[in-house]
Amino acid sequence: MKTDAYEKVKTARSNFRPTSVDYIHHIFDVFLELHGDRKFADDGAVVAGIAMLADKPVTVVAIEKGHSIKERMARSFGAPQPEGYRKALRLMKQAEKFKRPVICFIDTSGAYCGIGAEERGQGAAIAENLMEMMTLKTPVISIFVGEGGSGGALALAVADRVWMLENAVYSVISPEGCASILWKDSGRADEAAEVLKLTAQDSLNNGFIEKVISEENIDEEPFYKMIKEDLINELKVLGSKPLDELLEERYRKFRKVGQK
């Protein structure tokens, strides 16, 4: 059984798709990468730093899968360790201090799954990001450019605006994981993808995101220019709101999910 949803999953995972760093290079004028969580290490799966958007400074935090096999391995295929989430939070708090907006790019199959990640508190690191992002006193926009895998993606997506590329996916569990739990058969991932409602259009219909970004001209200048302009315009809107209002709206947006 071939499904549209699973086609999107495959497209979202494709090696030929631009990754977060491609967006950073094309959208911003200057980008200075900043490393490390100041506690344990620098996680290659998270690329973060200060960029100029038109003439304004912004903090950029991105989960990066990499392109070449060598790079992908160095970046753990875009699966952040706890220190990746802690680096992200460190730079988001820095953005709050200096009143810079935060822009996140998300592309991950999920948080890193390993012994060290558990030892260093993967759960606690994600939990802290969720709490802190909810009250971060600066506008936050998160864009899903590829895969949005579960808590590891949500840890950068507690934002005022969440946008998804047309073929990006956002799911509580991978379709393979879902199929193997449900039917003891990961080969039925295509069916699972359908029932999980993981496409950008599903997320838009359910009110989880505000915009689906067209992939026409993907990886060409007009494509990046369109996203850049959308970001500039949206930051104007968000920046003009009183902080109390911004934070109340952010809280309400998540508060209403599943509220009867």
Binding site: E118, G121, A127, G151, V195
Partner: protein, 287 residues
Amino acid sequence: MAFLNFRLQPKNELEKGGRTSALIQSDESEPEKKCPNCHRETPLSELAGNLNVCTCGYHFRMNSRQRISAMTDKGSFKEMFDDVTFSDPIGFPGYEGKIESAKNLSKEKEGVICGTATIGGEECCIFAMEPYFMMGSMGTAVGEKITALFEYATEHKMSVVGFTVSGGARMQEGLFSLLQMAKTSGAVKRHSDAGLFYLTILTDPTTGGVTASFAMEGDIILAEPSATVGFAGARVIEQTTKKPLPKGFQTSEFMMKHGFVDAIVNRQKQRTVIRHLLKVHNRREDA
């Protein structure tokens, strides 16, 4: 007395952290009576009289009602938000049937019960997750009830005591369940920013999306001995890394050793310790 004596000495390999991934159980069977640690068979009534703890120290699972009644003052618990029940937001195949059997097994309507109570006279908001309702997995109802409880606690300037047990986010509700992690965390943050106290007690098992949200957001985090506590599933980690897991991986003891749990508290001591912590934090300078 300089220290509150939290912890009984470990009595066996299990309490020392000798658990393995094999003990992460997802079956929703009747409460056990044969101890997996010492293999002694204990009548259910006798176990219940001892807070479901075997004479060898092994902590059996406890359902949410038992737990609340064991921890709170008699007759003080007033349940709240019990009208919030399950929904099937993405029309997931077979979900309604699963909910029906979870209801029958647990005699509860959802995976958590919430309310207010006193513990040794100290007022608090309290929640206890339900292991026999789809292993305390978090869907919209669980997220909604916990969020509403924190909002109530913030409004009424009350401490929150929470017993966690969860297999994580409830897959059958798709992103609706994932986003409960953000929703509950937001409510915990507001409660915290209001200067109010939140105590979590991690019980077996606390994993996945609940670990990565409100379970790990307590001001003080306690855990029951030998409970499984972690984010990713042990079997998944074993398969992914193809490395043997260290002894006692993802137990309360492991989490304390790595700095993520404040103290391990035996069930018999929990009431005393919780009351003490509530008393310390419920003090108001202006009162």
